[in-house]
Symmetry: C2
Subunit: 319 residues, 2 copies
């Protein structure tokens, strides 16, 4: 629980949050230790943090006025005090005022925010997407995957998506217009991928890890690439699963497997928003959302997302 103080210090802002982003990464911070190099685990008793959109209620900070819509990391609470001394901004990119004239504010938590940047960077910088590439995207109905799949498709690529249910396979084929899609609960993931991409793939955009990576290594053509954005299969697991047994394919086919986190690519936010913003404006990109109402629904939202029961960007609406 956060107590809203009576008084703001110089440079402080009081924000009333409207949207809190529900991200897979929150799960990794809910254990006693997090993965090395990753965001630190939350402490017991501490309010969770996470990307959020809110409206400035009171401001003693130059450049921020009541009514401004802002993006910040003090989510999972209805009111947030953002202090100039940065105490509550540790590790984030501070607070940003948004122009919400063109797009709904929550788009900046999804297609025009971290999810969009992850998709954009994964395809262009990490995956080095090039003409003619066949692309496989796992968790393709998820926040990042659905954007990566659509961007690759809009750039003219043959795109295969995998996801966790028949309904979501239909979503990939009918709403996102992917070339092929399959449910990863198939008895043989590699065979499913073989059928979807009979001539092989050049780029695998990995949101899942585990057996999916093994299938990709099997199916990648020489010189192929893996852009590893996440490993949602492992976040909620009790113990770490062994890696695929065919890593030698990385040598024999001269593959590149590259991990990344969008946070290191904030300088490309403008480029990403120019491309994705244009697609959204023209109605060529579907920015699907699964919305949970009220702060009390946040735990359910996290569980539903991790179990694959949400589509597109998972959000918690706070007012």
């Amino acid at each position: 629980m956060v107590t809203v103080p009576e008084e703001l210090g110089p440079g402080d802002i009081l924000v009333r949050n409207s949207w809190s982003s529900i991200d897979p990464s929150v799960r990794m911070r809910l254990g006693p230790t997090g993965p090395a190099g990753y965001l630190p685990p939350f402490r017991i008793g501490e309010t969770l943090t996470g990307l959020a959109i809110g409206e400035v209620v009171r401001s003693r900070a130059p450049g921020f006025a009541p009514g401004d819509t802002v993006l910040h990391i003090n989510g999972f609470r209805e009111f947030a005090v953002i202090r100039q001394d940065g105490d509550t901004l540790a590790g984030a990119g501070g607070v940003t005022r948004l122009d919400t004239g063109e797009h709904p504010p929550q788009a900046y938590l999804g297609a025009l925010g971290s999810a969009g940047l992850t998709a954009y960077v994964g395809l262009h910088c990490i995956g080095e997407l090039a003409g003619g590439d066949v692309v496989w995207i796992s968790s393709a109905a998820g926040a990042v995957g659905s954007l990566a799949a659509q961007i690759a498709k809009l750039r003219g690529h043959y795109v295969v998506g995998s996801t966790g249910s028949t309904e979501k396979v239909r979503f990939l084929l009918e709403e996102l217009n992917l070339d092929a899609a399959f449910d990863y609960h198939m008895p043989d993931l590699t065979r499913a991928l073989d059928s979807a991409a009979p001539d092989g793939i050049d780029l695998y955009f990995d949101n899942v890890g585990g057996t999916h990576l093994g299938a990709a290594l099997h199916r990648l053509r020489p010189g192929g690439r893996v852009a590893m954005a996440g490993a949602v299969a492992s976040y909620d697991a009790e113990t770490a699963a062994a890696g695929p047994d065919n890593l030698f394919q990385i040598v024999s086919k001269s593959l590149t497997v590259k991990g990344f986190r969008a946070g290191s690519y904030d300088h490309l936010l403008g480029d990403m928003r120019a491309e994705v913003g244009a697609y959204l404006r023209d109605g060529r990109l579907v920015a699907e959302e699964t919305v949970f109402d009220g702060l009390e629904s946040a735990p359910d939202a996290i569980v539903a997302m991790l179990r694959g029961r949400t589509v597109g960007k998972t959000l918690c609406r706070l007012r």
Copy 2:
């Protein structure tokens, strides 16, 4: 068995081989199927091929005269007929005349050949070796590893080597002057690496695969790289071993894992020979060899190399 023909056709060369290269890759070609994308398996009854050095005995090819020393892929035989029609050169880079004035001819199977190129490309192109990098090289007493370790050392890096015996650890420390070395048969490989590189590593040059890769992922610093040149641990195994369980480190630390085969970098042979040739001339680089005598010793040579009983480049001397 190869029958030496009485007559050479136009463009053919008859070579008497002096050295046959013993490479780990030969093992992968001795099964019913090879790894996807790799060199095809040998067929039963077929003479093995492999890099070799020999002397031209008779020539009907322009540019080749009796007495010339040549590098070619028709090893594992005492006499080789190299035909213009390319039948016996399939998949190789043809036949090359060598200038043996400065270096012994077998150097072109080791430090100045494929092993040298693998070391050079792995460090510079794949591993993107940069100032201040701490480097770990596995199989560091082997043909490729011993060269990679020395090149990195000569370029001023802190270099850790791992190998499979106490004697070879001593070789790494005393002959190759590495900064730290350990025997990978330690009960805890990760802890051994921790002690050898307490502040972490930036580049892992992987000749082994398996648990070594897991230890590297654990120890790599953010932005670190893995240059995968081989996976000798798996070549002689009955079944494929599972990969390490910490592949998520690739995401959390933004790592790059890149496989390669030197054969794709023949255009850098000249650059490599300029650098490594100069080191050899100045006596700053040790080109260790383990030599087996006679074609009949080739099977023993392959087994000894795969079991880690050889140091440096393993060769079979044919005359």
